[in-house]
């Protein structure tokens, strides 16, 4: 059985505070200074009824793309998918912005570490969660230092995704 598309087994326990938290940003350009100014002019946190979280899946593996897209869908999070770090940078340069980015580490063209650094240099303040199957301490440290807000080992599950959202102060309304 399920509610709002979320299976009962994945529901956040009763009594936990639920609210939807999201920023709307009017960012159009790549310039970090311009982005800072536009963010200051952006809308305030919208009402609970109107807010919707958005996410970007950055992964070169088609199976993972499909799974992560569906996991986010299941939690009511609108999401886009790109195939590597360069595409993640490009989509932000085109004016898109997201509340959450799920960033794979090993990708061709521009890997997760490089892409995270580049996005932070651009002034992107989205929460970025690194996700990878290769998680030795050295790799994790390097990835975190690139600018991650959180890190999770693959494979992703609903409960791991909920943990990421909780640690990054996103709450899913049930």
């Amino acid at each position: 059985d399920s509610e709002n598309g979320v299976p009962a087994s994945f529901k956040v326990p009763a009594g936990v505070v639920h609210k939807i938290f999201s920023y709307k940003s009017s960012v159009i350009f790549c310039c970090s200074q311009e982005r800072k100014i536009r963010r200051e002019m952006a809308d305030e946190v919208p009402s609970l009824a109107e807010s919707k979280l958005t996410a970007l899946v950055v992964d070169d593996n088609f199976v993972n793309q499909t799974m992560h897209h569906k996991l986010l869908d299941r939690l009511g999070i609108q999401n886009d998918v790109v195939c590597n770090g360069q595409e993640a940078v490009d989509v932000h340069c085109s004016g898109r912005n997201y509340d959450l980015i799920l960033m794979d580490m090993e990708m061709p063209i521009l890997n997760g570490i490089q892409a995270t650094k580049r996005l932070r240099e651009m002034g992107i303040e989205s929460k970025i969660a690194g996700v990878t199957t290769r998680a030795n301490e050295g790799d994790k440290k390097e990835f975190m230092e690139a600018g991650l807000n959180d890190f999770q080992e693959k494979p992703l599950t609903i409960s791991k995704l909920l943990s990421i959202l909780h640690r990054l102060d996103f709450y899913v309304q049930t």
């Binding site: 399920s2 598309g5 299976p7 087994s9 994945f10 070169d60 593996n61 088609f62 199976v63 993972n64 499909t66 799974m67 569906k70 996991l71 869908d73 299941r74 090993e106 061709p108 199957t133 290769r134 693959k154 494979p155 992703l156 599950t157 609903i158």
Partner: protein, 154 residues
Amino acid sequence: MLGLGVDRLQADINRLLTSLFHQGVLDEQFLQLQQLQDETSPTFVYDVINIYFDESEKLLRSLRLLLMDREFSDYKKIGLHLNQLVGSSSSIGARRVRNVCVAFRSASELNNRPGCLRGLEVVEHEYNYLKNMMHELFQLEQQRLLAAGVRYPM
């Protein structure tokens, strides 16, 4: 009679899945995959498994071509392909395939060509076993849905 047919087929599906879990072919991540199937994506498991098969076979073909080349020395490329296989196998809960890919990757990291060749054979064997089992599962599921009077796009 129809009900008995559906029940028997469901029992066969449960038996097959139990066996696959018991053998370590599948792990709990496969249950996660099943949980994501819903009315908005009623063939999600089938679709994802088929993406996995398509991608895995391309990677396995590429691995074989690389290793069959007498001049082969690009162990880094082998590693990249295996990272993909490890990742996607983990995501669908294909535990044994994942584990043998990890072992193969260790051989590639040591630039051990005989080890890589053995690793490839083991991965191909485990992959083919998984594929056969998944086909059997989908056939049983198809039969069960037909018996229950539901159309299942294949």
